[in-house]
Symmetry: C2
Subunit: 365 residues, 2 copies
């Protein structure tokens, strides 16, 4: 518990320091302001050392020299006070609760007009304080997904410690990732590689076919666009246990974005890339070349698919030989396919042929 | 394991009987046909004995006297063969896999044109064979949600039995409900009542505030419109353990439908009402009267909200004094509110005031 207290105190201190800065600015007779990196696609740069995309040098400033700017800083001050007290009491809350809570604040000018505003402010505070939302004890609405595989972990809960083996101590549904996976400590494992799977149907197929036990594989269910908790635990499995991370999705542009969010991070949260992104993650499929090679059942690309593929071709994060080739092939054949389309070759094709062959090619097994 | 084998054999036999009926019809020189209840709102009647809504007397017939009808029965025959083999091998598959698998069938006429068609056929087979989809071993794409509360259960998995206490043996994420919750046996419990909660944010609030331990409450996360697995386990908690079931959602017409699907069942799956619906479930809130009484932060009703409320006023399932009064009040005030809007009164208001007062009024605590 003293670890928790230390980390609460540290996060709290950083918030109080922010408020103190406003105070100092006032005292010096300066107009209070807060400077943030500009959060747009054009201000994203690749950090060669860390191999992730981070914000560039362009910044924007929130200053109290206008009524609008002053109101923003007022809201920041109230939010800082709320978060500091929350950490002191070792409580937590959701982003939505923060928005509603602001209705109880005594100063009406400090209340949020909508949840977009409070969400954005919390992100701003993450950036300027260098403390993650999870360490402010702000929970997301989205819950993380599930794990199944040969890992024993210890989770620190409010009800005490739980030691859980993610195959032997869980049902077929697997282990539910908590909102803040940094409450987890990895104790022991037999994992050879991590397999992140987009859809529930395919996750269940791998589990039914015993893929995790046969290949000592940790199956992470992404459940579509993965929650922060899911991306965080994937990164920790890679960094702390030195495991290869493979991503297995549908074969369409939206699924390549899912791969991108595991591997490259997102523009909206580039300040968290170091914490959430696993740049070494590799894309298993479904690849456009698989559609051709395995003659998979497909759907035609719609207009929005074509637009998304063309936008990916221009995205700096997808500009390498592999993605250029695959995306151009897909635009050429005009088709997309789902993971479960592999069932057209039989229910065992994916675990007996497709994945073993691909993982062997990629040097993972 | 012999229980599983027995239930597989029973489901398989019912499927084979269906196919045998086609065969007998052929042999008698009759045109093969399959008769089903008409699945529309106008053919839903309230079963006074079972207290659930079921299909009425109107039926429709699929006959091989047209090419279209003959093709439907051909597809049914192929699907029956696939399902019977699946049960023999104790395998399972998803609805989507079935659709893709049909591409490998030797007779092109038997292949499905879209997943809607295969989904609907599986529902038809459920109805005529009186075997549930889960007993055909067809898994849904949607996964069930999570449980947390004072219950010890035994889950029969493909990897052997797991005994799990849904507070002591799980992390903060809770116990993940498996796709087929009939693989679960309830061993021991201290539950006084079941609380089904719509949103993840509110579920986490109850867990953080220790509501499940303080009130011996089983918290079931509905995750929006609940999956079949979630409704099934809720019904079993009610029927087998004799527990009151309370439903706690947002205060808008879509959330009343969520309550309806727990309590009354749905039109689309009225043949499963007896298996999935918990007619004794009670609605806790958010009630339109709460919006007024607690002066909750609200959003105005949109056109689609108003339409949905008006349609509920005419829905036989909502025609009682309570719902008529609440829905009319809501149309009158023109507002809706979310569960988490209770946070405007502080983070503990829901567990220290709102729920205890309401549950006391309702005679549950």
């Amino acid at each position: 518990m003293s670890d928790t207290q230390d980390s609460n105190a540290e996060a709290r201190q950083k918030l109080v320091d922010l408020a103190a800065e406003f105070y100092d600015q006032f005292e010096r007779g300066d107009i209070p302001e807060m400077t943030l990196p500009t959060r747009t696609k054009s201000n994203i740069v690749f950090d060669e050392d860390k191999h992730v995309w981070v914000y560039g040098d362009r910044t924007s400033t929130r200053s109290a020299n206008s009524v609008r700017g002053a109101r923003k800083l007022l809201k920041a001050a109230y939010t800082i006070e709320f978060l500091a007290r929350q950490l002191e009491e070792d409580r937590s809350s959701t982003l939505r609760e923060l928005y509603y809570l602001s209705e109880s604040w005594d100063n009406e000018e400090a209340q949020f007009n909508g949840q977009d505003e409070s969400n954005k402010l919390v992100e701003d505070l993450e950036i300027v304080s260098d403390v993650k939302r999870e360490d402010f004890h702000m929970r997301p609405e989205e819950s993380g997904a599930t794990l199944i595989g040969p890992l024993e972990l210890r989770e620190q809960t409010r009800r005490g410690e739980r030691v859980i083996h993610c195959q032997k101590d869980v049902g077929e549904g697997g282990y539910q990732i908590p909102n803040n996976p940094d409450t987890i400590e990895f104790l022991d494992h037999d994992i050879d590689f991590v397999m992140c799977v987009e859809t529930g149907g395919m996750r269940d197929r791998l589990v039914e076919n015993g893929f995790d036990t046969e290949y000592n594989c940790m199956v992470v269910h992404l459940k579509g666009q993965p929650a922060r908790a899911t991306r965080r635990i994937t990164k920790r499995l890679h960094d702390e246990l030195g495991l290869p991370v493979m991503v297995f999705t549908d074969g369409d542009p939206w699924s390549y974005r899912i791969f991108g969010s595991v591997s490259y991070g997102s523009i909206k949260s580039a300040h968290l890339s170091e914490y959430l992104a696993t740049p070494e993650a590799q894309f298993v499929g479904i690849r456009p070349e698989d559609i051709v090679e395995y003659d998979l059942p497909t759907d035609p690309l719609g207009d929005s698919d074509v637009n998304a593929l063309e936008s990916e071709l221009e995205d700096p994060r997808f500009q390498d030989e592999f993605w250029t080739e695959q995306i151009e092939l897909q635009l050429d054949i005009g088709k997309k396919a789902e993971q479960q389309a592999l069932a057209a070759r039989g229910l065992d094709f994916v675990t007996e042929t497709y994945l073993p062959e691909r993982l062997d090619e990629m040097g993972v097994i």
